[in-house]
């Protein structure tokens, strides 16, 4: 009892906030996975992102926190919701039964992985590790900008090539099949169409995939 009291008294306000947001993050990410309705999943994901952002603030990375909310909660998940609404995706029926046998492999594997990681972190004395030299200025915009264009120039540029590629890829996968296939077919002989145009429903699904 005494240890608990002394432990509690050693906690600062930051600890309480950390635990609060950590619990919210874990609970909402569980909800993301376990929820059958995709819309509820998306909403739960917003909560996950928001509580992660709050924990970033506790780590003095305000810039990252704000960007996390703007980019993930404010843009990406809005697009998820948009697509869910546009396609009128219904809650998924209980189709997991098909994987009944796999469940007996999947759940223990997940448990082993979780327990392994948990034990590794719990039973290792992490105090011996030298903490990374984080200063008060570590999370500021200026510092991030400087690192991004000096130390992390290569990953930054590679990431921008990656995003460029992703845009092209999304267009390739999602653009209507009318363009080349139809035009080529019209120009050349109207021969056998071995690659039929996808049904309207398929097209919608492809939009979602991309």
């Amino acid at each position: 009892m005494d240890t608990i009291t002394s432990y509690l008294s050693s906690l600062t306000a930051e600890h309480y906030f950390f635990f609060l947001f950590a619990i919210v993050a874990i609970a909402s990410s569980l909800e993301v996975v376990m929820q059958r309705s995709p819309l509820y999943s998306a909403i739960a994901l917003v909560f996950t992102m928001a509580s992660l952002a709050a924990n970033f603030v506790l780590l003095k990375a305000q810039f990252l926190a704000a960007i996390q909310i703007i980019v993930y909660a404010g843009a990406i998940i809005v697009l998820f919701v948009f697509v869910i609404m546009l396609l009128n995706v219904r809650a998924e029926e209980s189709r997991l039964d098909r994987f009944g046998a796999l469940r007996f492999i999947a759940v223990p594997s997940a448990l082993v992985l979780f327990l392994g990681a948990f034990a590794a972190i719990r039973f290792s004395n992490l105090d011996t590790l030298s903490p990374s030299p984080a200063s008060a200025a570590a999370g500021t915009t200026e510092r991030i900008a400087e690192l991004m264009f000096t130390k992390y120039l290569l990953p930054f540029e590679a990431a921008s090539v990656l995003i460029m590629m992703a845009i092209v890829g999304a267009l390739v996968l999602a653009s209507r099949a009318r363009d080349v296939e139809a035009e080529m077919a019209a120009i050349e002989a109207p021969a056998e169409s071995e690659a039929p145009l996808p049904e309207p429903e398929d097209r919608l699904e492809e939009v979602e995939v991309s």
Partner: protein, 541 residues
Amino acid sequence: MTVEGTGLAVFVSTAVPSAVDLLAEVRDLAMPEIIVSVFACLALLVAAGAGPRHQRLAGWASLGGTALGLVSVVSIWIAQGRTLPRIGLAGMYVVDEFALLFKGIAVVAAAVTIAISMRFLTEERTERGEYYALVLFATVGMMLVPSGADLLSLFIALELMSLSVYVLVGYLRGDGRSNEAAMKYFLLGAFSSGVLLYGMSLVYGVAGSTRLVDLAVALPQAISANGDLVLLVGVGVALLVAGLAFKVAAAPFHVWAPDAYEGAPTPVTAFMSVGVKAASFALLVRILVDGLGPLRAAVESGWPGWDLSVGVLAAVAMTWGNLAALTQKNAKRLLAYSAVAHSGYALLGVVAGNRMGYTGLVLYIVVYVAMNFGAFAVLIALRRGTIAGDGIEDFRGLAARAPGMAALMTVFMLGLGGIPPTAGFVGKFYLFAALVETGDRWLVALAALALVNTAISAYYYLLFVKAMYADADEAGAPALATSPGLLAVVVVSGVLTLAVGVYPQPVIAVSGAAAERLEPAPGPKPTRNSAERAAPGGRAR
């Protein structure tokens, strides 16, 4: 006005000179990647500007980009060969012979893929310039991977490569198999990237740095200072090995490979089985040998190093791949399982961990490029109109219809089976000899297992030969769909497969040079001298 003068001005005045230095480094070291990226964008512009009938122009532009990229790679090797290895871009990027060789492989793989794609896409009625641009984007990723000196740049390069290939796999949108393949490949690929990233984060947490050189120093130090950490590092390394095994398609982490190989457009399958595989092996070597080299054997008593798990992976991959390939009817699926088995063989080089093993690994990948591209090019030539051309029965009577093509296909099959006098034999010989050379009982047993596997694999490779020469001609089979580029690929691959098999010294010399800087496993065995004796080209550069 107080704000104006301080923060930004100071930042600019300090950052700009170092930015100029950075640009100089970029110019010296990363020119091949820049060239290929620029040509990828150029291909996009051409695709946008050219009409639907002239999309092939984008293909020619991309081909030009790969040619220039290859020139750039070679010229870096020639001009800066004495100053290598050079580490630049704030420790994110390394240029050494290993990186340059794999960049060369990537560029060549892209060029060959583009060459064999042109006719294929016309047959599929889906020739669009974006296809070529995506191949080039994947190539940029494949060129950045072997140069990665930091977990961060390695991961982003890997993702750049993988994402492009996911899209390419699903390129045939009207084809259900292509869509399914892309979906499976994407889901499992994303999952394996997550596993890899989790491993990286744990390792980073212990080492406090993402640089590979720092990892090699910090991890053993941290463990020797605090034995408890071995568990944390162990979980991290295990996740890394699992993620890497996914990427190189080593059984039992290969489940995506057969579906993805079968469903993808055949040129993309060739690209995956060669370019992506080579880059994945470069990633594996960079992380395991450069970054986690000291953890190869047990650091703390009672805990195994990663050599055990990689050895088991190699054994399982060889056996599983070959046994599963025996029953396949679809040629692409069969080659997928054969690729799994070949991943197992190549891993043997990492397991052996001596200079001969590394040389064998690089050599094996180089010759595998030639053999596999040849085989896939023949497969593509069989694709005609309404005929999918990817079953083994499509090869029936090929010897009568196209004797030259059949002869070259025989060469490729013999090469993949590792039968002399082909290049495949030289590669396998090096890998198996490296295992025997270590003298370790278990590794010698592994070599024996690999030999047995080679015998098994000969059966299904010879099935193709039997179909081509012994079986009757298909009634009314159409002529092959060839193009100058495809023919060139087949002929050059065939000549290389034979030439390397007969006179392997130059390729051995190059591979030895590329493998020279990889840290060999420490051990009581005098591996070094014997390796140099066995690999005379090792220091001949």
